[in-house]
Amino acid sequence: MSRRTRSLIVALTAALALAGCSRAEPAPDTAAAPAAGGTAAELRLGYFPNVTHAAAIIGDTEGLFTQELGDTTLTVQNFNAGGEAVNALFGGSLDATYIGSGPAINAFAQSDGAAVRLVAGATDGGAQLVVRPDITSPEQLRGTTIATPQLGNTQDIALKVWLDEQGLAVGTDVQIANLENPRTLDAFRAGEVQAAWLPEPWSSRLVLDAGASVLLDERELWDGGNFPTTVLLVSTEFLQAYPDTVRALIRGHIAATELATTDPVRARTIVNDGIEEITGNRLTDPVIERAFGELSFSTDPLAATFPQLAQDSVTAGITDELTDLTGFIDVGPLNAELEAAGQPAVAAS
């Protein structure tokens, strides 16, 4: 080895040791400083064309968001499941999204609590395990393939935890297929999957359009039958830079939730119109009626359920270790807006 090579290697080792010792403190974000008193020029909002995202569909199509956002332009983007939405949030192409509790926790965990904050709840309930009619007990699921919307999404986690409790091992006793919801309906009809754990309206569609029966309503698994299915997640950076815009979004969200709870008939039509516009498919009246009956809308994120949800994420093998949820739920802006609207505050933990 020549002397030059040797000195090169020594230099490299030194550089490696130097680089290895510590990570610089991230520079304070001066670029994202509030532009006009914390109001953003644009808000990029994500949601899914599901009934569990009714508040988002109502707020978007009825103009409740734009009304509150004022000069801020609203750009919406639709996703099939939470994982994709989180990738968009991480990649900086999304500022806020309606999302399931599972991916919301995962986003917080994967970014070591840095990237996202949960600012409000949206939907409780509305997820069921629907099966081929001849399956009447968990034991009969042995040897079947069960569909969920995406690896690590809320229903995927719920299914894996439940299977674990039933003593059914994934991969040997049952298979899990992660399919986009419309594909699940086709696959169920074709007999490729025998069961599916789905959010509304897809569980209702499988029951009413494809003859499935309900083996389990996820409400049965929770005390009082309440668990968060959909929450409103905001990028931390956006929340810090544009608190006023987030407050405006939350006002629109409160208004949409109120419409959904006080005038369900109108809400059903709005949501169905919205779903038709996004997917090109209209739900039949029985499906949308059944779907609305299986869930309830509330801005309360049910913060008390999150430690259990974080534990479930570990049980399902999506996160390696229990996520420390400190700082995850930030209902300060929500409670301020609720108080202004004369409504009771929600619990922060």
Binding site: M1, T5, L8, I9, L12, A15, L16, A19, G20, S22, R23, A24, E25, P26, A27, G83, V86, N87, F90, G91, P103, N106, A107, Q110, S111, D112, A114, A115, T145, Q150, L151, G152, G171, Q175, I176, A177, N178, L179, E192, I318, T319
Partner: protein, 296 residues
């Protein structure tokens, strides 16, 4: 580090011996480098490159320009990588994909070789499907995935379909261009010696076209491997099992960047491994028999 040329001693005035001596003078000198030196020479530069890349990566990470959920530390990725090594899933993941790629590639060779011969030797076939074959080669086979999923469902058939469409054209085209570059005199020599069509193909055409054919095969493997990864990332189902593509997709689904990068590293390792273990030695042998590379 050239060794002194062999000294040739002309013992007496014997003409034959003198000529032999001249011959010996004319043969190229073969320098014998010791094995450890050659091994060192072959491994140090790539290892150095690797170290530079990792140091740069580590430095970039340490600068905290990007949040860790976008750019993890090399150590975090190594940890993720270690996890699949320790639990043994690395073997099943790699084997699922490599097995598919090898089977797909061998089938592609079996289809593309007669196809290439036909295109090269039969004028009608060349005009009829030659342009299509070249066109197919430039069509990214990932474009077939959505159609294949509709036709075959989420099954191995989909994956093999995409792999074959990716690799058959480049192997066939490699063979065609290899044959086109065979000097016509070789064929005429065969005619003179009484070789029939088949014998001429087997004994003259194929060996003479071997370098071009091999280059086509190498490209065909690369296309097969790329197509396979594209198909595995898009088409995932429990029936298909977890290959490298599905493993990458899983990392992306749960937003785990360390998992995504360790999948990319694993895909790269397999690619480099196949190149070093299979194609490099093969190519070397072919070149050597043609006097185009120094014997090892």
């Amino acid at each position: 580090m050239a060794a002194p040329p062999e000294t040739v001693r002309v013992v007496d005035r014997d003409a034959a011996a003198a000529v032999a001596g001249l011959d010996a003078l004319d043969t190229p000198t073969v320098t014998r480098t010791p094995l450890w030196r050659r091994a060192l020479g072959a491994t140090v530069p790539p290892v150095l490159t690797l170290v530079v890349v990792i140091v740069a990566w580590q430095a970039l990470w340490a600068s905290a320009l990007f949040p860790e959920f976008k750019l993890p530390a090399p150590g975090t990725v190594a940890e993720q990588f270690g996890e699949i090594v320790v639990d043994g899933s690395i073997w099943s993941i790699t084997w699922t994909s490599v097995g598919r790629a090898v089977v797909g590639f061998l089938v592609a060779v079996a289809i593309a070789t007669p196809l290439g011969l036909l295109v090269a030797k039969v004028a009608f076939v060349r005009t009829a499907i030659g342009p299509l074959l070249s066109g197919m080669q430039s069509l990214p086979s990932v474009a077939w995935v959505p159609a294949a999923v509709l036709w075959f469902g989420l099954t191995d058939a989909t994956i093999y379909f995409v792999v074959l469409l990716g690799s058959v054209p480049s192997i066939a085209n490699g063979l065609v261009s290899g044959i086109d570059q065979v000097p016509p005199i070789l064929g005429r020599v065969g005619d003179v010696m009484g070789a029939g069509r088949l014998a001429s193909a087997r004994l003259i055409l194929l060996p003479a076209a071997l370098p071009g054919y091999l280059a086509g095969c190498k490209q065909g493997w690369a296309f097969a491997w790329r197509s396979l990864m594209a198909a595995e990332i898009i088409a995932t189902s429990p029936q298909l099992g977890v290959g490298l593509g599905a493993y990458l997709k899983q990392g992306s689904d749960v937003n785990n960047i360390a998992g995504v990068i360790s999948a990319i590293v694993l895909i790269l390792i397999v690619g480099v491994g196949i190149e070093l273990l299979v194609f490099k030695p093969l190519e070397r042998r072919v070149l050597q028999t043609r006097g185009l590379a120094a014997p090892v």
